[in-house]
Symmetry: C2
Subunit: 352 residues, 2 copies
DNA sequence: CCAAAAAATACAAACGTTTTCATTTCGGCG
DNA sequence: CGCCGAAATGAAAACGTTTGTATTTTTTGG
């Protein structure tokens, strides 16, 4: 009772170098394609024996489900769009991508990164909305979006999730880091160490128009003022010589501060270098505190405010999946705490 | 001669909140769906007038092509898989992603990032090969893949492109940075400055098993030896206190070097901090050279070897697209040059 | 002005799944 | 042993495109 050779391929011996379809698997396993399909998507609906057989054949034929076909049939795209501005190789953006991708790919979704660099790209994106029908959700990360744009975007009928973005009414959910709290932690730390002459270094607002910049500085200054202290504020201009420029500004201050708070580690770390080169010892002459706890902060001994963008992104991803799969609507707005990490760049102010 | 209302939607007034299909556009524009399709994919095949009309209607109905359907029909997945190990938020990996994504998304492809962290994930990936039929190409970045795996992977019939990877026979193309040349540049720079007591700091080979590590150190040592110099080699163990540990090792050396070359900026930058704190001035007492020209190198004034991973990745992406779209098979193996960037962390050795 | 070629458009058949509905098989129990 | 409900499986339609072929329209040139 020889079993007849499979139907599609003429010769039994010929290995199907061309990839197998569900039909091939069905033929070989002597079941219908529905059974094959169910073996993958609804294992509970097929008997263990059949399923085992199907999986064995699938393995043998190197079969995997065509996501395109599945997507078409189910109406899901299995894709989640991430809208980001500027470059994504910086620490924060890359961390967000890492966190999102980890969760999404585990759940069977692809993360489709849409970088919007130029004005023109921006216009074109919102004009044509290529994500329409091609994404099951849109995540917006560190990207300030205006009224018009958000309105247009929400015309596509999928959840919109904000990460590190101001809460917009059309967002289905938002995850942020508590910049307000973080800045207060920084300010309090310095003040508790006895510092009264405090300098705050910010980036040029014209360059990074993201709201969190504003929130950091305002919260920092607000807390200090509440303590009767008025910090000086200095702006680091962008450009090749921004740190040289910055140190020049600082050195020409009428009075040197005893502590410097920086809006981000990227300012703090080079600043420490320059201070040391100019004869100021950190922290014995001047304390420096950063913000982010990014790559080099630990190894360099920088006291800073830690954010955990990967965790935040993972949480955002899970919220997104909840929204897509229509389980419990998640808490709409989540705020992640920031933490003070004390290392060796800050110390009690010296009595003078 | 009133035009009849469109056929699918009962009421003319009702805005199709549900997204439009190609059929809706065809109806409204009074053409066939083939014409609509061709208006998007083969503009040359439809008359300018018709095309304008179609695009107008498409815009009006907020239509965009369903990538899933198109993918199914054409047999392309419109997806390119990126295989990466470990975390992707580090500077190099993130830069590669940025470069790849820029090119791929411009060409209409999605970059699907597959992070392989654990042994188990690795096994599972190569066992089930979920990319089969679901990626038009596979890019492998900074990921050492063994014989067995590459063999299995190449069973899926798409181009495999290596980025920053050792050339495997099954790779369709490879793009690398010239670590050999870069290391020589670093060595020569130090030697030209008169340094003879040179220390090389490497990472723990057990941690980062990537080949380029090995190449960097060997080329560096090789060049030095050619010049009659035998550098000391110190290994920075991983861990929370790796820099403390490192500086301890260095300070207990029988003789302090006049120059230190680091395998990566991530070692060099914190090292400078620690040297300064231990009373050694950089560069007047000790010169330090890094490798990578990563984020902080410029602002910190680090002399280093510049790599341009974004450019490299863009080039890899274009090669990939060439391979997919079957134009000219690109040059199979491309090596990007590394450059010496002299800043203020190295100087001529002092006469003693 | 007409025929023939070229350009533009339409028709219809896939692509590989998922899923509804119908059918078969199985196990339990009277 | 036979019946019934449940479990397992199968048949077939549809998802929204692309594209080969057929048809219609336009252009061209004698």
């Amino acid at each position: 009772m020889a079993t007849p050779p499979q139907r599609r391929h003429p010769a039994t011996t010929k290995e199907p170098t061309t990839t197998a379809t569900i039909q091939d698997v069905a033929n070989r396993a002597k079941v219908s394609i529905s059974t094959v399909s169910r073996s993958f998507t609804r294992p509970d609906l097929v008997s263990p024996k059949t399923r085992a057989k199907v999986l064995a054949v699938a393995d043998e034929l190197n079969f995997s489900i065509s996501r395109s076909a599945a997507a078409l049939k189910t109406g899901q795209s299995l894709r989640i769009a991430l809208l980001v501005s500027n470059h994504i190789s910086n620490w924060f953006a890359a961390s967000v991508i890492e966190g999102l991708n980890a969760e999404f790919s585990a759940a069977g979704y692809d993360l489709s990164i849409i970088q919007i660099d130029s004005r023109q790209q921006r216009r074109e994106f919102f004009d044509t909305l290529p994500v329409r029908r091609n994404a099951d959700a849109v995540v917006i990360a560190s990207f300030d979006i205006d009224e018009e744009e958000i309105k247009r975007l929400s015309s596509i009928d999928v959840p919109i999730i904000g990460v590190n973005s101001v809460l917009q009414s059309s967002f289905s959910a938002t995850v942020n880091i508590d910049d307000h709290q973080g800045s207060i932690l920084a300010a309090r730390h310095l003040i508790q160490l006895g510092h009264r002459h405090i300098l705050y270094v910010r980036t040029n607002p014209a360059q990074s128009l993201h709201f969190s910049v504003q929130e950091r500085i305002e919260s920092f200054l607000g807390y200090c003022r509440g303590q009767g202290i008025e910090p000086t504020v200095v702006t680091a201009e962008e450009g090749t010589y921004r740190i040289d420029n910055l140190i020049t500004q600082i050195l020409s201050l009428p009075e040197m501060p005893t502590a410097i708070a920086c809006q981000e580690d990227g300012l703090a770390i080079p600043l420490i270098f320059q201070l040391e080169r100019n004869g100021f010892s950190v922290p014995s002459d001047i304390s420096v505190i950063g913000y982010d706890d990014s790559t080099y902060a630990h190894d360099v001994g920088l006291t800073t405010i830690r954010q955990l963008p990967i965790d935040m992104a993972r949480s955002a991803a899970r919220k997104t999946l909840d929204l897509i799969e229509g389980h419990t609507p998640p808490k709409r707005n989540e705020v992640f705490p920031a933490h003070l990490v004390v290392r060796s760049s800050t110390s009690r102010v010296e009595d003078r």
